[in-house]
Amino acid sequence: MILVYLIGLLMGGGVLALLMGQWNNSLPKWIALCTVSTGFILLLSFWIDQSRIMNTLLPETWMMEYRHDWISTFGISFHLAIDGLSLLLLVLTFFLGILAVLCSWKEVKERIGFYHFNLLWILAGISGVFMAMDLFLFYFFWEVMLIPMYFLIGIWGSENREYAAYKFFIFTQASGLLMLLAILGIYFIHGSNTGNYTFNYFELLGSDIAPNVAFWLMLGFMVAFVVKLPIVPFHSWLPDAHSEAPTAGSLILAGLLLKTGAYGILRFVLPLFPGAAQLVAPWAMLLGVIGIIYGAILAYSQTDLKRLIAYTSVSHMGFIMLGIFAFNELALQGVVMQLVTHAISTGALFIMAGMLKERLHTRDLRLMGGLWTQMPQMGASAILLAMASLGLPGLGNFIAEFLILLGAFKANVWLTILATCGLIFSAIYSLRLIQQVFLGASKNLDPIQDFSWREITLMASLLLSIIWLGLYPQPVINTVRPTIKKLEELFLIEKEYGHILINNKRIDSLPEKNVRQVKTELVPSNTHSYVR
């Protein structure tokens, strides 16, 4: 039930903020802050509670479930459930949610009520995406997070905002429709096979789909997730959307929206279509590697601060693609770490870009320089963040990237070596960023303030999390371990009998049984005990 409350809280808070925005300008901020922090505290306490169990017992994959019929004629239910992966990303969502509210505290000056309504509804959509275990519901939330984001960019963005908003909308919407097609495809195939027409994730897990059909269905899902992630040929919405969005928008885009793509691949593409995923793995990894290097080179040449950071995201998301399709625990754990740490480090960079924009009224790197003299605190944080982004050991991103590369090395040596070269490029663009903004001769003679107390709190929380994740990431790793383990097992078996599944339409009875067994293990065995 707590899961429904979480979404309800955000949506309700959003509506309340919208209504209160008519009367008062500061009330919506406080409403939004309270709403998100309440959710955060709720989740955090739940996590701490769970981690006690996690460390002692053999942990269950699924922690909590809520199910209620919605449109039963079509087999659609309001079905939410979380496992470690979802929980972690939810905590991240609320954490960044708080920061998003805080960082737009002074930046947004008009239509404050509507702004916070959009903000909270995006968060609600994202939370829903992380929890939905019904494909129809998933698609619903997928769209819920899209539309408020469109408004956020289109209304409160900077000069070129309408173009960016359109671009963002068209890319995500078009790819989302392909996913809808694939969802309907799997719905009907499963329905005609078993006579049970349902969108329920757990029931669809076990469905037999002919390999060639599965391949196309998987591509439908993949396109949506890959565009969201984004991977290189589909990335071009991202720099525009990131650079034009308001700070909180960039933060949520980079920190959360991109993560829904990776989450989707982990949650849907791999378990639903393991055979097909195996088939595309080398190509997906190749795309990931291209993304790493291409993004990094593009980042190097940008002159717009936010665009630069946006392209670094492209580069970092390449690592995620590489890791996911390596199909082993090391790489997958690395992927989860990368999701969290990238959200924090890039989010922090975007917040910093927002702060610079507030002070200098420009995002153009050529107009910056020598800001260290006036803002040593910001400079120091920026160096730390740049180091995180280039993967300095001791910071969270390093562990993520190292694990991904280590895992991927097992799967594909040469691609991994290429990807590792991406580390050199990441150093090049990160250092250029620092040099252009903070070092060099001072170009700005007007006095600029260093961090205010609000900003210090914001930054400190982010920086501390990054360092914490770099030195002791075990809580995160433990939380997702059951989920990752199950995924890995699935592919171990798939690998063993993979050639049979892929090459023969006829599936031998013995291996199929094995695959089935594992697939059904992904279904919560103790569902009843958690349904409240």
């Binding site: 625990e329 040593p376 300095l392 590369l405 250092l431 070092l439 075990q474």
Partner: protein, 630 residues
């Protein structure tokens, strides 16, 4: 008991760093200095304490180790934050903390006028922490943490005076070039992990001889990947170009990072992983070859520089080349011995050079110095001692003992041969020449720039201490035909194997005499060229082939230009032409196509009724003709 105190060695500077980084702005200069220099000094004292303990009662397994916490645990990959102190790391920890402390004390006075006092000490402290973690690491991942950490500090400190963009450029160059090596090393770590299932150094070293065959491809590849990391960090061929530019940082930084400690991390890595290198004769040969080539190339370049710090930088590259040569020859202890001695005299030389530069109001050009012998006597004497050690002045300087060992092994070890020996010998000659040249230009002759500052006690005392060690530290290890003292190698043989000599080699004395002769020859030649007959040098410089050679050497054998053309320019070019993202053009193309289509369609909406009717009629004709045809 002592292993529980191990964590305190890096903890002191870490606390110093945290204090300075967070509250540096609010601390007075006095307290900043106390925290900055004091923390490292405490570490040094603690190291002495632990080191004495270690020496007096060496544990049975030859090391202290302390696990602080498990870093993380994924599948079978469980790196721990474990500190590991054995004889090899003890030497390094000793050098780092001890010389580090001296340099910190020196910096208290040297940096006194700088506005970013706290930032300087914060970075220096962070550097010491990282370097200590590097050498104390029990597993390669933790080592990598230290490895990258020192890279970061090096970046921060080279670009310490950030207002000047060229400093920033030098800093980035240093970081990125070492990063290239680091990346290769990371790949090496992957290979090691999949071969052994662990990154723990003792485990790997224990497993290697049983898992890998001598000369197997995988061994060579791994060794070369690790070597690439070392080559980048230690500024060896072909990644040496960053070090001369790194001199943009303050002199204490050059002394600590770019002479004494960080640049020798590559030596440490190779020595630490010696088991792997031993199993691969090819890798051994490559190490030796790189060392030999580097020492020669850097020696020639040092000969032509006019910036005193760049001379020292090239000489550092050259001396590390000696260490690599020794490593490649299997003369593990000789390499480490040379490292230690080199750390003393090179730190001394850099600090003294820094004092000179400050005294002459930031004048780097040696040709505008001169005549400082009487004006800065303490500096002169200490610099003289350092130079003697660098030039390996026989008998009285420590450098002689360490370098002589390497020369001897270049001939006598089983990997040694005549070519390597000749190169090493010629390198020694070059060293003597450029060292003397530097000394003569700086301290003899006419004074060309007025002395504006005089070094304070805080600066001269560390110099004196270092000078003492530069002279006498060599006596703990004497050749066996001359005292035969093997304190140092005995200690290290707990960790590193003994050097295997070719059978039936005699006449060490002859080689020592030759080395002496070469040194004196070099000194004399420099004396002639730059003191007695400087006009001869000028004349030589004018002759056509020599001037090109001079320029070629001066620019560091053209490596920078080659890299600029082969690597930097293409990447920058690709980046700049692709600034607006080619792929985005594709999507924009779709958008433009749609707009065009819209135009075409809206063109048919001409507003002319007759046009519409004709359209209708044509449509009717078409439909009917379909019917007619069917």
């Amino acid at each position: 008991m002592m292993d529980h105190l191990l964590w305190l060695i890096p903890a002191f500077p870490l606390v110093g760093f945290i204090l300075l980084a967070l509250w540096g702005k609010h601390l007075s200069r006095f307290w900043t200095a106390i925290i900055g220099a004091g923390s490292v000094s405490l570490s040094a004292i603690l190291t002495l304490f632990i080191g004495l303990n270690f020496l007096s009662s060496t544990p049975a397994d030859g090391h202290y180790s302390q696990t602080l916490w498990t870093w993380f645990e994924v599948a079978t990959f469980i790196p721990k934050i474990t500190l590991y102190l054995d004889a090899l790391s003890l030497v390094f920890v000793f050098v780092i903390t001890f010389i580090g402390a001296l340099i910190h004390i020196y910096s208290v006075a040297f940096m006194a006028a700088d506005k970013d006092y706290a930032r300087f000490f914060a970075c220096m402290n962070l550097f010491v922490v990282s370097m200590l973690l590097l050498v104390l690491a029990d597993n390669l991942l933790l080592l990598y943490l230290g490895w990258e950490g020192v890279g970061l500090c090096s970046y921060l400190l080279i670009g310490f005076w950030y207002e000047n963009p060229s400093n920033g450029y030098a800093a980035r160059k240093a970081f990125i070039i070492t990063r290239i090596g680091d990346t290769a090393m990371a790949i090496g770590l992957f290979v090691l992990f999949y071969q052994f299932g662990t990154l723990s150094i003792p485990d790997i070293l224990a497993l290697t001889p049983t898992t890998w065959h001598e000369g197997a491809t995988i061994t060579t590849v791994t060794a070369l990947l690790l070597l690439a990391g070392g080559v980048g960090k230690s500024a060896q061929l072909p990644l040496q170009t960053w070090l001369p530019d790194a001199m943009a940082g303050p002199s204490p930084v050059s002394a600590l990072i770019h002479a004494a400690t960080m640049v020798t991390a590559g030596v440490y890595l190779v020595a630490r992983m010696h088991v792997i290198f031993q199993l691969s004769p090819i890798a051994q040969m490559v190490v030796a070859g790189i060392g030999a080539a580097t020492l020669l190339i850097a020696g020639f370049s040092a000969l032509t520089q006019y910036d005193i710090k760049r001379v020292l930088a090239y000489s550092t590259i050259s001396q590390i080349g000696y260490m690599f040569l020794a490593l490649g020859l299997g003369a593990w202890t000789a390499a480490i011995f040379h490292f230690m001695i080199h750390a003393f005299f090179k730190a001394l030389l850099f600090l003294a050079a820094g004092a000179v530069i400050e005294a002459l109001n930031h004048e780097h050009n040696m040709f505008r110095m001169g005549g400082l012998k009487s004006k800065l006597p303490v500096i002169f004497w200490t610099f003289l001692v350092g130079s003697a050690s660098l030039a390996a002045l026989p008998i009285i300087s420590a450098g002689f003992y360490s370098k002589d060992q390497i020369l001897w092994y270049a001939w006598a070890s089983e990997h040694g041969n005549t070519t390597l020996w000749l190169i090493a010998l010629f390198g020694a000659f070059l060293t003597a020449v450029y060292t003397t040249r530097m000394l003569l230009l700086t301290f003899w002759g006419d004074a060309k720039t007025a002395v504006s500052h005089y070094p304070s006690k805080l600066m001269t005392i560390p110099l004196a201490i270092l000078a003492f060690f530069s002279l006498f530290a060599g006596f703990i290890e004497l050749p066996h035909n001359f005292g035969h003292l093997t304190l140092f190698s005995d200690l290290l043989h707990q960790v590193l194997p003994e050097t295997i000599l070719k059978a039936g080699i005699h006449g060490e004395l002859l080689f020592q005499l030759l080395a002496m002769l070469v040194t004196f020859g070099g000194i004399y030649m420099a004396y002639i060229l730059w003191y007695r007959k400087p006009q001869l040098t000028e004349k030589l410089k004018q002759s056509a082939p020599l001037i090109h050679l001079y320029r070629f050497w001066f620019s560091g054998w053209g490596f920078d230009q080659v890299y600029q053309v082969l690597l930097v320019k293409p990447v920058v070019f690709i980046a700049s032409i692709n600034k607006n993202d080619v792929i985005d053009k594709f999507y924009q193309g779709i958008a433009i196509l749609m707009v065009r289509l819209n135009r075409a369609l809206s063109f048919t909406q001409s507003g002319s009724l007759r046009w519409y009717i004709i359209g209708l009629v044509v449509g009717a004709i078409l439909i009917l003709s379909i019917q007619v045809i069917l």
